[in-house]
Symmetry: C2
Subunit: 344 residues, 2 copies
């Protein structure tokens, strides 16, 4: 078992009858050339001994690693896992390993992970989600990030434009605005928005975009209810919305939940309240989570190329470093489905 410790490069060199330097060169092919015969001897020796290079030692000697860090709020959320999938695919192409950091939206965890990635001398870090909760937290993250960058690290963010790094900017505002226009075009007149917490940037942008489009198209401002940025938050928000409507007679004909998960909760609340989504009340979401594309009624939403966003983020973070911050914009596309039929 643990009897014979793992073979090292010196073992290989000795076995092949060459020096350490030659063995190293033969195995990695440096700029220096090794005579084919020796090379073969080294390869054979490595194979014979079952040699595995020690990546940590290599990282030390070379001063760089093959690892990129990915911070997400919650990997089990399809939004993040789809992004992670795209990023992981791209990473694989570059021969990089992905360190997955599930922050759970907790600032301390986020900071801990950032520190850990720095210790690991990760080649790059991609931050996604847990967007800029409080200003103070953001600035702490920004500090950590800055010192990481000064140490030669690279970083990029997804949809967190307040961080001082290259960013994949998701056009939340434009997507939500387009959705508002389409819904208004379908004949809806009284809208409500189910938003996440006020300090969540994504949520705020989508809310604002929708409100703007709605105002331009209908001349009115949608009401809104805010709750958690999750399925349960959506359900609670919807429930409250329905209660309010009954109490003061201000019923809406159309509800926009700022993400698909909240929309899902809204759907559940409607069902519970005996409201048929579609004919009786329109509901729309945002993201176009793959798993939800086939449900009944089909959920109208704004499709985001999530996997591409992950890929793009990695490209960005791996690309030539440049002095000024780069932004890469990604736009959503409105997808109308049965949850928002043309209003008769």
């Amino acid at each position: 078992m643990a009897g014979e410790r793992a073979a090292t490069l010196s073992d290989v060199a000795r076995e092949a009858g060459v020096s350490l330097a030659t063995a190293s060169r033969a195995l990695n092919g440096s700029d220096r050339v090794v005579r084919p015969e020796l090379q073969e001897r080294v390869l054979a020796a490595a194979d014979k001994l079952g040699y595995t290079p020690n990546a940590n030692a290599q990282a030390m000697a070379r001063g760089s690693t093959e690892t990129v860090g990915l911070l997400v709020k919650d990997i089990s959320d399809p939004y993040f896992s789809t992004i992670a999938g795209g990023l992981a695919d791209e990473a694989e192409k570059h021969g990089l390993l992905v360190m997955l950091c599930n922050t759970g939206g907790q600032p301390e965890r986020e900071q801990k992970f950032l520190a850990a990635l720095r210790r690991q001398r990760s080649r790059a870090i991609v931050l996604s989600g847990s967007d800029t909760a409080g200003v103070r937290h953001t600035s702490e993250v920004a500090d950590l990030l800055t010192s990481y960058l000064e140490g030669g690290g690279r970083a990029a963010a997804i949809s967190q434009p307040r961080l001082p790094v290259d960013t994949v900017v998701i056009d939340n505002h434009g997507g939500a605005k387009a959705l508002a226009e389409r819904l208004a075009g379908l004949g809806y007149r009284r809208a409500a928005v189910l938003t996440g917490p006020a300090d969540l940037l994504v949520s705020a942008e989508r809310h604002a975009g929708f409100a703007e489009g709605w105002l331009e198209a209908t001349g009115s401002t949608p009401t809104y209810v805010s709750d958690e940025f999750s399925r349960d938050g959506g359900r609670r928000a919807m429930t409250r919305l329905l209660e309010n409507g009954r109490n003061n007679g201000s019923e809406v004909d159309c509800v926009f939940a700022v993400n698909d998960l909240m929309a899902l909760g809204a759907l559940a609340a409607c069902r519970q309240a005996g409201i048929e989504v579609g004919p009786e009340l329109a509901v729309a979401g945002f993201d176009d989570i793959a798993t939800l594309r086939d449900v009944t009624p089909g959920l109208t939403t704004v499709r985001l190329p999530l996997a591409d966003i992950g890929r793009l983020a990695l490209e960005l973070v791996l690309g030539e470093p440049s002095a000024e911050l780069r932004k890469r914009s990604v736009h959503g596309e409105v997808v109308l489905r049965e949850s928002t039929p043309p209003r008769s």
Copy 2:
């Protein structure tokens, strides 16, 4: 920027006016004690210089890392991302980082990742999904794994009982069997199974379990159609099933898709064919993917505690190594919803 290279431990030691050894001890607290005064000086110096330990150097010197690898078939699949979420949470508690390896179900990739994790001297590896495609592939993976274990690594698998490591065994057979019994109890009589590829163990187990339960309860054997283990596979399989039914008059009243994603595809196929799931045809899945819990009609399925499975796998792999292989069983629970109403 890159002007001043990162502070090292020697820098800290010099700044604090102590030796390297003392600095190291002060920062990590070894079994050796450091006088409080010196300790403070070291801490202050570290802080002043913005010192970050180099995890690679530590790993080398200590001979062990803080990293665990997680192999999944496709992180964007909710099944895996939920497991990953549970595992990541547990890892965070232990101060471990998770290396995410998305194999895409490709054996070569799987092997590449395994090799990479070995190079990294990962503390442990958890394998999930891409279950044992061909025998040859399995044995190659097993070899890689064995040599990893011999090097002092630890590994565990999720639902891949053929690998020579501790495994979290999911009772696919029992869950599917229970489901079959419940469906039969609801009055269904002619069942079909939508399976994945024949060599996919999970799929085969669920198929067999269902068939066994169905046979015991109704005296008949379900027909089956197999296709990809995915949403699209489910759609295609369902389409074929419907066509066959029409051609030879052997229509079924109940369809079991071996996972929720396939069931989702089946739902889509039914909608396209104008069949109302529930009243006209019952459909059930397996896994109880969170995102699908709120769709209409509610999908009958077998609930698996996926996040717990991830946690459990990590616990297993981190626990005391033992000579014999440990198995930890996890059972599913049938959840009846509207997609399988009692048959009138």
